[in-house]
């Protein structure tokens, strides 16, 4: 009987395989199992039936540690995603058959664009989900204070990005003061989502202490942005109670977190600039209001002053007029009094003088001077001859004396 030894058989297969697959080939597969040991990746590839999902084919693959390191340098964390279980990837493999170990696919490269393509599809799906949950504009509906002063910063403290942000913010040309509180998080690597999430929880717990949140990731090397496409993180940002800004140094794209943020800025410096500029706009509007107010007040006061000036003049002249009028009235009365008094006195005087005149004229002595005499009989005035008889004694008064005479 012609029988192979196992070794011979396997050797034959090895040679056949080697002959047919002299060069590395590109292979589509799905990673169903990934085990890492000593830096080497032990992967089980499968191909499933599209409809039934039954496994149609299966093969073991290996990514040796040194190749893995090279790929890691090239791809960053995308490699980890590519080699996650359940991930479809495109790999370049050497098909190797070993007598002892059987068929092994030796991975020497991973197609980045395919991975990126997968990631992009995945991201689109997540974006669609965010849209479905109406989360895309949610955070940006939060009102932003006219002046931002108290900021919670999620960043890796020692990173250049954080330093840039901090410097740009505090050394702003307008002298604006800010109160920043740093919340430590890893912004890359497998703990990124978790630490960012924790930082966000801490901030949310004291949301009244802050006006806004800024998440910073420095630029520099083309490291991965995986965390920022996390659906979980994006949801959290969308629902966050404070305005959430992102200042993630991208090369080209936007991450999911940028799409749900209040505002996404290209770099940490740009984020700082945005905030400073926001405050400047507010200050400008205040200045404008101040200017307008001053102008209006000046106008008002000028008008008022003019009115007061006019009133003052009018009041002065009116007062003077009243006083002058009163003075005239008093003077008039004085004159009237004068006149009335003198009139009365003159009148009385005249009367007296008249009486005096009458008295003078009526004085008997005046008649005596004229040659008349006054005849008396027995002391009584005798004005006629009637009643006189012979022998009567008559007294005759002359201007210079009296004498007695007898009637003949």
């Amino acid at each position: 009987m012609d029988a192979f030894t196992l070794y011979d058989l396997n050797e034959f297969v090895r040679r056949a395989v080697s002959l047919n697959f002299p060069k590395a080939v590109w292979l589509y597969g799905e990673t169903s199992q990934v085990n890492i040991s000593g830096g080497h990746y032990f992967i089980e590839f499968v191909q499933r039936d599209e409809e039934s999902d039954k496994i149609l084919a299966q093969s073991s693959a290996i990514l040796w540690a040194d190749t893995a390191r090279k790929l890691k340098r090239k791809m960053g964390r995308k490699m980890n995603l590519a080699l996650k279980e359940g991930q479809e990837i495109l790999v370049k493999v050497y098909v190797e058959f070993h007598e002892r170990y059987g068929l092994k696919l030796n991975i020497i490269d991973i197609d980045q664009t395919f991975v990126e393509g997968q990631l992009a599809i995945f991201r689109q799906e997540q974006l669609a989900q965010l849209k479905k949950e109406k989360l895309l504009g949610k955070n940006s509906q939060l009102p932003l204070l006219p002046a931002i002063q108290k900021i919670a910063v999620i960043a890796s403290k020692k990173s250049a990005g954080y330093q840039d942000f901090d410097k740009q913010l505090h050394k702003n040309p307008f002298g604006y003061q800010f109160k920043c509180r740093h919340f430590q998080a890893f912004v890359q690597g497998e703990y990124a989502v978790e630490t960012i999430s924790e930082a966000m929880d801490k901030i949310a717990w004291q949301e009244n202490m802050f006006d806004a949140v800024v998440m910073i990731r420095g630029g520099g090397a083309k490291t991965d942005l995986m965390a920022f496409d996390s659906l979980e993180l994006s949801r959290k940002i969308a629902n966050f109670p404070l305005p959430f800004f992102t200042g993630i140094g991208h090369d080209i794209d936007e991450s999911l977190v940028d799409l749900v943020a209040w505002k996404a800025l290209k770099t940490p410096t740009a984020a700082a600039d945005y905030i400073v500029n926001h405050n400047m706009v507010f200050e400008s509007s205040l200045n404008e209001i101040s200017f307008l107010l001053e102008r209006e007040v000046r106008q008002l006061t000028t008008v008022q002053l003019q009115s007061l000036e006019t009133f003052s003049k009018v009041a002065f002249f009116q007062s003077k007029q009243i006083v002058e009028k009163a003075q005239d009235a008093t003077k008039f009365l004085e004159e009237k009094l004068n006149l009335a008094t003198h009139t009365k006195l003159d009148s009385a005087q005249q009367q007296i003088e008249q009486f005096e005149q009458i008295c003078k004229l009526s004085d008997p002595k005046r008649l005596l001077k004229k040659g008349y005499a006054i005849v008396r009989k027995n002391g009584k005035l005798q004005t006629q001859t009637k009643g006189l008889k012979k022998g009567d004694v008559l007294e005759i008064e002359f201007q210079n004396g009296k004498l007695d005479t007898t009637v003949d």
Binding site: F316, K320, V323, A326, Q327, T330, L333, L337, K344
Partner: protein, 67 residues
Amino acid sequence: MSKAKKKSPSYEEAFAELQTIIEKIQNDEIGIDQLSENISRSVELIKFCKQKLRKVDHEIESLFEGE
């Protein structure tokens, strides 16, 4: 405590009294005997009014100067 002095009249009161006295003189309601006394009172009232007006005038001037 009795009032030592009568409360001094207002300008208007003094002026009115003055007018009354003059009217009485003009209407011969004041006899010669009372004339002296009434004139004396009138002169007093005139002096009072004139003084009052001078004072107000001065005050107005200084108030407006002061602003």
